[in-house]
Amino acid sequence: MMLLILAVFLVAMASPAVERLTGRWAGIVLALVPLSLFGWFATQIAAIQSGAKVSQSLAWAPALDVNLSFHLDGLSLLFALLITGIGTLVVFYAGTYLRGHAFRGRFFAWLLTFMAAMLGLVLADNLIVMFLFWELTSISSYFLIGTDHQREAARRAALQALLVTGLGGLAMLAGLLLMGAAGGSFEMSQLLLSGDRLREHALYLPILLLILAGCFTKSAQWPFHFWLPNAMEAPTPVSAYLHSSTMVKAGIYLMARVSPVMGGTQWWFGVLTVVGGVTMLAGAVMAIRQSYLKRILAYSTISALGVMTFLLGIGAAGAWSPESVEPEMALYAAQAFTIFLLAHALYKATLFLVAGNVAAQAGTADVGHLGALARAMPLTALAAVLGALSMAGFPPLFGFLSKELLLEATMKQPVLGEVLTAAAMLAGTLFVVVSALIAWGPFFGRTAAATAQPARETPLPMWISPLLLGAAGLVFGILPQRIGEPLVGPIVTGLLGASEPVAVHLVAWPGFNFALLLGLGAIAAGLAIYACRTRVLRLSEPLARLERWGPGSWYDRALAGLIAIGQMQTRLLQSGYLRNYLLIVLITALGLIGTAILRLESLPIAWDWPAADRLRWSYEHLYLLLTACLILMGAAGAVHSRSRIAAVASLGAVGYGVALIYVFYGAPDLALTQILVETLTVLLFMLVFYRLPGTKQRSSPALRLRDTILCGTFGLLMSVLVLVAVNIQLQDKISDFFIAQSVGLGQGRNIVNVILVDFRALDTLGEIVVLSVAALGVLALLKLRPGREVSA
């Protein structure tokens, strides 16, 4: 399996070259890859049905519990077949649909990357590897939505999709990590065997909510659904493939995969059923309000995803009232879920491709302007009818079976059964309205307005793909037992977490029962609503206003808020005033060191100014006191002086005062260097200051006062630290070694110079490098002027 995914990745990278080579036939050549994969997975059906285990594993980063392990079971097999099957047709369709498009090569590259990532996602056994492919699908969908990136709307929609799914993805990463830690292993197969350990875990609720955040954003559930309609900016093959049958189902796949271990609790039932139900209804209602073909389909996809989440939710009703549950209630829900998943994938892909044909030929996708296309495009019309009938749930089609099982599952609910059935009925009705809008209006309705150019039938690949998918819906509908059952059985066993395989028997015509009556009723109501849809649109006007304040606007407001905070923060912090920067640095330094000092119980400062004979003490240190006064006056002069000369002179005074202190405390080398350096510095100051203007007093008195206080406290802090350091002296300083060894090892009697040149020569080496760089810098600064001809 690993090799297959790798192969698809390699082909994806090669596809720009392949596309340039094969030109017109690129669609077909590239479609061979998913076709061969579809064939390989088809051969696995028998093995999986008999319960054989197909898994591979390769260690990748053991320190991070990440190893490339893949596992094929019922659920992943169905998804794999869907991905590769519909993938083949979509690539085949896109070959002609995008002929002449400037970036067709790169489009195929990203489409095949997406296919490989989606395959990896459904086949991965290791949680982290699955997340890895999850993020890859998000990024490839970003590039696919932005295929014709010249348009601002496409770029915005791509970003919106990426950010919403990205946010959910990151939350899910945290959830997966917690789940792996709580469940004891990062391999899904081991986790599934851990039974109730996760459900009883203390962190069950956060794990559940985090993972569901990822699933709900990916599968466009109610609060996070707004990115899917905008994603219709992508070319139709992308909408047909990603945003109807595969990518948006990744969330559903993960919920189904995790349900045996995380499902079955009251939280699971509550959250999924409510969110699923709301999405189901909201999506359906908004679908009928749209006027563009692809947006209608997008909202109906949201509603379909809501139905699937809803089914996964009600499967766990047993947890709510365990005593009154009928054993096969969970079985019905699991069956309904699987059949609905398969049926929806088929008819939604068909309808999207049909919408693509209509948009290509009729020039517009607005349902209002389309009419009587059946005569011009008979084959597309046939595919449209097949897809729409399956969606509406008419008997011979596969959709009918899925609606039947959906209604039976809701009727058998022990708790709130009637409410859930009513919700399912309403959704079914609205589905019928949508299918009528898509199939009946454009193809068989009267011609409302003149279409842009005379529509004629699309070339072969563009009508064969939807037709094949529609026909598959019909075939599955007629013979569900022979084709549907080998796939559905293993999935249902997996979903229920049952040990031995569960027998599933599907029948084309379940006979007259209450569910059938409800279904027919839904169809009738749907057709009625379609007939008087103008009045229905007026009635649902308030809903439109609600939509404007809905989640879509929350996203825009959040983004605008983010930018506003960023601007405010940058204006505040990165103000451009150097003194503000210094102020903040000073306050931070004072704050940090201050808090550290407050933790100091006792302040070990020895106050060696003898109280008794202060006069004698000060006489002894007279010279020191005089130099100290000289330095203090110099510092004050530097601060308050008006003229530049006075400032430089006071700086010189400070320098020479410090040299005197070095002399007092036995540092001849130091004093010599200090005096020479000080002279040179004053000389340089004079050379430079000759040209700079005088120092005018610029800042306001309040500012100066605040600065004085802050700098004063910092200075005080430094003095205190010095006194503290002076009093805490460890005895064995390393300088004793230098004093002892200066003649022996260093062969020199001036210990300071021996240290500089011998013991710590690396310091001096670094020092002269600094000096030479400084010299180079001065030369470059003064000599190198942009534009001035350099006399090098």
């Binding site: 400070v654 405390y665 040209r691 500089l756 003064l782």
Partner: protein, 115 residues
């Protein structure tokens, strides 16, 4: 006598920082010079002023007679002084070019690279 030096160090640090936050380039560079003097003096004092006998060994002797001042901080400060000189020389040249190039001496008007 450490108290006196501590006061000197504190006032040098305070003056240096105060000058650093003024708006004229000249005061800025004088502030930097004062800061480096203060840091050097701090190392000198923090190492403990044991004695005022210069760390030299008389001719022919193997070790200095009696208590000697700590040679290590003196070596460190010598290095720091020379590095400080290099840096101050570069800063002076930088401010000179800045004034020639930008024509303004007031640091507050230099916000082009930030906002």
């Amino acid at each position: 006598m450490e108290v006196v030096l501590a006061v000197v160090i504190g006032s040098l640090y305070g003056a240096g920082l105060y000058l650093l936050m003024r708006r004229s380039l000249i005061k800025l560079v004088i502030g930097l010079a004062l800061l480096s003097q203060a840091a050097n003096l701090l190392i000198f004092t923090a190492a403990g002023l044991r004695s005022s006998q210069a760390p030299l060994i008389p001719k022919g002797a193997a070790a200095p007679l009696g208590e000697v001042a700590d040679p290590l901080p003196q070596a460190l400060i010598l290095t720091a002084i020379v590095i400080g000189f290099g840096v101050i020389a570069f800063t002076l040249a930088l401010f000179h070019t800045a004034y020639m190039r930008l024509g303004i001496d007031d640091v507050d008007q230099m916000q082009a690279t930030d906002t």
